[in-house]
């Protein structure tokens, strides 16, 4: 990848959950999403900012624990560092876990690139009784250290000033000496390296990486391209292993670990008698082997009841003016093409505002709350046991939970999974997770007409279905799952500002991407109705829609459009049946309502999900996913029809 412009590249890099995206946001404005779940930024985000007349190209990389990647998200981070050679690295570290955070810093320093450390979350560290002296840390590391509190926008200005200064001076960073015997071995390898050898960053860094990469892809590649160098590396590893009695890569990791801890101790004062904060106590209850599960169930039910309690009165309130307007239009415009056009527009615009938003907004707000508090990672821990029964482990919980918001980022986030097996199984299951669009449908149809318990029941059924499907799909994969290693970030009191910002961010993307589809879709349907094209599609689909599913024939066309956007089916349903939301039940039965909801929920993932599946796991798997969803939707709908009988 060549550099695309002449602006200086500044890379934000840090371990997962260090507040890197929040800091990046403060610098870049409202661009990246943040969360309290490890591995949320799986794709990098670019942004241009103007600081005192100088344009900077800032890049937010996915969180990475080390420069030895073990999942795809981390590989993205490395590609940037090694290939694009940034002009400046801003290493964001979580001050509250300084000892561990510094391990990555040590590795970054080895690169020798110009670098600044943003010592983030200093407030949290102080709460834990840790006082860090940034000047002391700065002299130990040999790079500027700027304390920041990203969530409150503190230290951002200082950080930018330091960045500008550093860009002007381009001060290279010198490496920190390790134990003599290890340094000797590294130097020996450096001497063995031929002059034309493709080095990354510098000779020392390349030598260290070579020693570290035993049994990996890199090691096998070296054997192909330079067998004699490979032999030298093996010998050096052997000597290190013999002397230290641990694998060579661990010798290197231990060097960084010791330095990190040493610097942590030298630059910080830990006040004795660390207070146990009330958050720790809450954490003990949330993670309790028994209470934890009861709370998980409580959170789950509470979540939907709250959304429903806010959404349904709001919905009724907003719908009334729409109905009046529609009646007025029909008197004014008669029944010509203008009325159809205006009606389509009204249904699309109004449907989005009055039916979708009342449920959508509380849903994304509460999702952000659970995420920021740090509950999602804990849910992952609690759910690991059950995930094993379906052939996965707790780390897949995070993509699944993101899937409740939207399936698209959920599929992208499967990159945090280390094995391809887990990635494919998880990606095939995600389209069965009811996203916010489908939750809206479930709430607007099932909960609104049949009562909230129906919606909850449907949700439970849906989750059980995911379990059964997971079991079946994992049957086709012989290799076992590697098992769970998941960091549990500390519980945090979320900031309202961040919650509103996140809600706004998602709302904006709904308004920009989804709403226009709803509006255009409604207008297209209105025109099709005017020209009687819809009856043609309905006729073709009628053997299936009418005979097999037992639904009104008019709904055929709405199912087709559901492929674009799931909410479209809901809005079009009313339009197709020519009925207002309140009067829906006069035209269809409770049973038909259930079957419609079931079918819409499971059938074919929406077009954006298919596109992202295609990109992430390949064409074949995307097609399998479409077939799987459609097959399951048909089977379940038919079963439901048989059971409730219409």
């Amino acid at each position: 990848m060549a550099k695309q412009n002449s602006f200086p590249d500044i890379i934000f890099i840090g371990q997962p959950n260090c507040g890197k995206s929040t800091l990046f946001n403060s610098v870049a404005g409202l661009k990246a999403e943040t969360s309290n779940f490890p591995g949320t930024t799986v794709k990098h985000t670019h942004s241009k900012v103007n600081v005192e007349g100088k344009v900077l190209n800032i890049i937010d990389l996915p969180g990475t624990y080390s420069l030895n990647p073990s999942d795809e998200a981390e590989k993205v981070a490395l590609r940037h560092l090694f290939v694009e050679k940034p002009d400046l690295i801003i290493n964001v570290i979580d001050a509250s876990i300084l000892g561990r955070s510094l391990e990555l810093t040590m590795e970054l320093i080895e690169l020798g690139y110009p670098m600044i450390v943003a010592l983030n979350m200093v407030d949290l560290a102080e709460k834990k009784g840790v006082e860090i002296d940034p000047r002391k840390l700065e002299s130990l590391l040999g790079v500027p250290v700027i304390p920041t509190i990203a969530s409150r926008g503190r230290g951002i200005k200082e950080l930018l000033i330091a960045a500008l200064k550093n860009l002007k001076e381009r001060k290279p960073v010198s490496h920190i000496e390790w134990a003599k015997d290890v340094e000797d071995k590294i130097e020996e390898l450096e001497k063995n390296m031929p002059d034309d050898f493709p080095i990354v960053a510098n000779k020392r860094f390349t030598a260290i990486k070579m020693i570290e990469s035993s049994k990996t892809f890199l090691d096998r590649m070296l054997k192909e391209i330079n067998p004699s160098l490979k032999k030298a590396v093996d010998e050096i590893r052997g000597e290190l292993e013999e002397r230290h009695n641990i694998p060579a890569y661990e010798v290197i990791a231990a060097e960084r670990h010791h330095l990190a801890l040493k610097y942590f101790e030298e630059s910080s004062q830990v006040k004795r008698g660390k207070r146990i904060s009330w958050l720790d106590r809450v954490d003990d209850i949330i993670m309790h082997p028994l209470l934890g599960y009861l709370i998980l169930i409580g959170v789950f039910f509470g979540f939907f009841f709250i959304i429903f309690k806010i959404g349904s009165p709001l919905e009724e309130f907003l719908l009334n003016p729409l109905i009046n307007l529609r009646d007025y239009l029909s008197i004014k415009l008669g029944s010509g093409v203008f009325f159809y056009l205006a009606d389509g527009l009204l249904q699309g615009v109004g449907g989005g505002v009055a039916i979708v938003l009342p449920f959508f907004i509380p849903l994304i707000f509460l999702m952000s709350l659970l995420e920021d508090v740090g509950y999602l990672a804990r849910a992952g821990f609690l759910m690991d046991t059950f995930m094993h029964r379906i052939g996965l482990h707790g780390k897949s919980v995070s993509p699944f939970i993101l899937g409740f918001g939207c399936n698209v980022p959920a599929v992208v986030s499967t990159r945090i999974l280390e094995s391809r097996r887990d990635k494919i199984i998880t990606s095939l299951l995600i389209p069965f997770i009811p996203c916010s669009a489908r939750t809206t449908i479930i709430l607007a149809l099932m909960a609104f007409y049949l009562g909230p318990l129906w919606a909850v029941g449907f949700y439970i059924f849906n989750i059980l279905l995911v379990g059964v499907l997971g079991r079946i799909i994992s049957f086709f994969f012989k290799t076992p799952s590697p098992g769970l290693i998941l960091e549990i970030p500390s519980l945090k009191v979320p900031s309202l500002k961040s919650l509103f910002r996140k809600t706004y961010f998602q709302l904006k993307s709904f308004l920009i991407f989804a709403w226009p589809i709803l509006i255009v879709g409604s207008i297209v349907l209105a025109l099709m109705q005017f020209f009687r094209l819809d009856s043609f599609i309905n006729l073709i689909l009628s053997p299936f829609v009418e005979k097999a599913l037992g639904l009104p024939r008019e709904l055929g066309v709405t199912l087709v459009f559901g492929f674009l956007r799931k909410e479209l089916s809901l809005i079009m349903m009313l339009q197709a049946l020519d009925v207002s939301y309140q009067d829906l039940m006069t035209l269809i039965t409770r049973q038909q309502l259930i079957i419609f909801t079931v079918f819409i929920s499971f059938f074919i993932p929406c077009v954006s999900t298919v596109a992202i599946l295609w990109k992430e796991i390949g064409k074949k798997m995307a097609l399998i996913s479409m077939a799987l969803n459609t097959g399951v939707a048909i089977i379940i709908s038919l079963l439901v029809r048989m059971i409730i009988g219409i």
């Binding site: 561990r100 834990k128 661990e250 801890l261 046991t385 590697p482 098992g483 290693i485 549990i488």
Partner: protein, 81 residues
Amino acid sequence: MISLCDAPNNKKLKIVDILGGHGVHRRLLSLGFHRNDFIELDSRSIFGGPILVRDLTSDTSIALGRGIARKIMVEIVGETK
């Protein structure tokens, strides 16, 4: 020396050895779990689920599946708190 799976809750433990493949070992290292680190078992879930381990040196928590926990060998050093 016992495996982390068999270790008691809320006792100060020391990581003595990490068995098994280099993939898991590297992952643990990058998450800040090193040999000779002091750790504590915070909680374990029911039905053979994962265990929650707190690294007392770096003050971070990670959830580990049983399969992985079985490969981490520890010795009991003392009480915590």
